[in-house]
């Protein structure tokens, strides 16, 4: 699962930055095309919901999505990572 902020809905209130226990949401620094500073995501793969929702079969935490007054935060399905061959150099 992948955490995404819907830029067409976010109004830049930064409430999500106050509730995430992992501080994944950070105040943004760049205006988007609607003139809104959308928060940026700091290593979103740490989000327990991204990692464990499938495993537990229910939503975990989810405080950011609940508090987001503009319904802009959601989790999207993600394609499994493609396997690549890693050459390890000694």
């Amino acid at each position: 699962m992948k955490l995404v902020i819907d830029e067409s809905r976010c109004k830049g209130c930064n409430l999500c930055t106050m509730v995430c226990p992992y501080h994944i949401f950070q105040e943004g620094d760049r205006l988007n095309e609607r003139g809104i500073i959308v928060p940026k995501l700091d290593r979103p793969e740490r989000c327990p919901n991204c990692r464990l929702q499938k495993l537990y079969g229910r939503r975990l935490c989810g405080a950011c999505a609940l508090i987001c007054p503009d319904q802009a935060i959601r989790w999207e399905e993600e394609k499994p990572y493609e396997k690549h061959k890693v050459v390890i150099e000694y």
Binding site: I67, C68, P69
Partner: protein
């Protein structure tokens, strides 16, 4: 399904200002409704007039956006005429406590099987920030430019006294607790009242030295006290600071109720 599936996606984004807590309260209510496993077709959302009352327009179910203060009377009609429907009312402090005060106490007294979610932002937001019956003493609004002088209504205490079966108060910062409280309210037969203190940065915070959304959130986070803790403090004879707002479950009881499906 999640609470997002209850929204009319074609109506979003909604009209609320940046940082308004109403969207959060709708999320929590819909999450609770979703946890109840109710069907979209059997649920009706009803509201009066004001910021809070625009909420049903963004929800997929049948919904009634009525006149100022009268939402509870309309809801009484819907519920009594068809008890099979699950009725949830969104209202605000001005809508419920000022113009709809009479309907509020009588709906509590009748104990009609409704769940009422009151978004108390302590101000009239839609009309631009006039003082409401819940504006704290000393707060600045456009109609109280020298600070509010009238004592405030404690809506939750009022609902307890008037006879509601379930009463709880939380804030739009305490999303998990608020969701749980709404769910408890939906489960309780009879009149359930959940007061959600919400931030209004545009009309309230801006004039009251809480200009940033985070300031208002911090105000709500630091100024609440769990009602059980307050009672313990009172029992021990300790002084409870006056500005502390008690939150939590005020009452849960099983008085005879009207409009409960047989």
């Amino acid at each position: 399904m999640t609470f997002m599936d209850w929204y009319r996606e074609d109506r979003l984004p909604h009209i609320y200002c940046t940082g308004c807590g109403n969207g959060t309260v709708i999320n929590c209510t819909l999450e609770a409704v979703e946890q109840m496993g109710w069907a979209v077709d059997d649920t009706v959302f009803i509201s009066g007039i004001g910021c809070s009352s625009r909420a049903p327009g963004y929800i997929k179910t049948d919904s009634l956006h009525t006149t100022h203060g009268r939402a509870l009377a309309f809801a009484t009609g819907v519920k009594l005429a068809n008890p099979r429907l699950n009725v949830v009312v969104f209202t605000g402090d001005g809508d419920l406590a000022a113009i709809g005060g009479n309907h509020f106490i009588h709906a509590c007294r009748r104990n009609v099987d409704l769940t009422v979610v009151c978004m108390n932002n302590m101000i009239y937001g839609m009309t631009g920030g006039q003082g409401s019956p819940c504006t704290p003493v000393g707060a600045i609004s456009t109609t109280t430019p020298y600070g509010a002088v009238e004592p405030v209504f404690d809506l939750s205490e009022l609902a307890v006294t008037a006879g509601a079966n379930y009463v709880a108060r939380w804030t739009s910062y305490h999303v998990k607790e608020l969701t749980k409280a709404v769910k408890d309210g939906l489960e309780t037969p009879g009149f359930s009242f959940i007061e959600a203190l919400t931030q209004c940065p545009t009309a309230y915070g801006r004039r009251n030295k809480l200009r940033q959304v985070s300031d208002m959130i911090n105000y709500m986070r630091t100024n609440v006290i769990l009602i059980q803790k307050k009672q313990r403090m009172l029992e021990r004879g300790e002084a409870v600071p006056e500005e502390k707002i008690p939150v939590g479950e005020f009452v849960r009881r099983n008085r005879p109720a009207m409009g409960v499906p047989k």
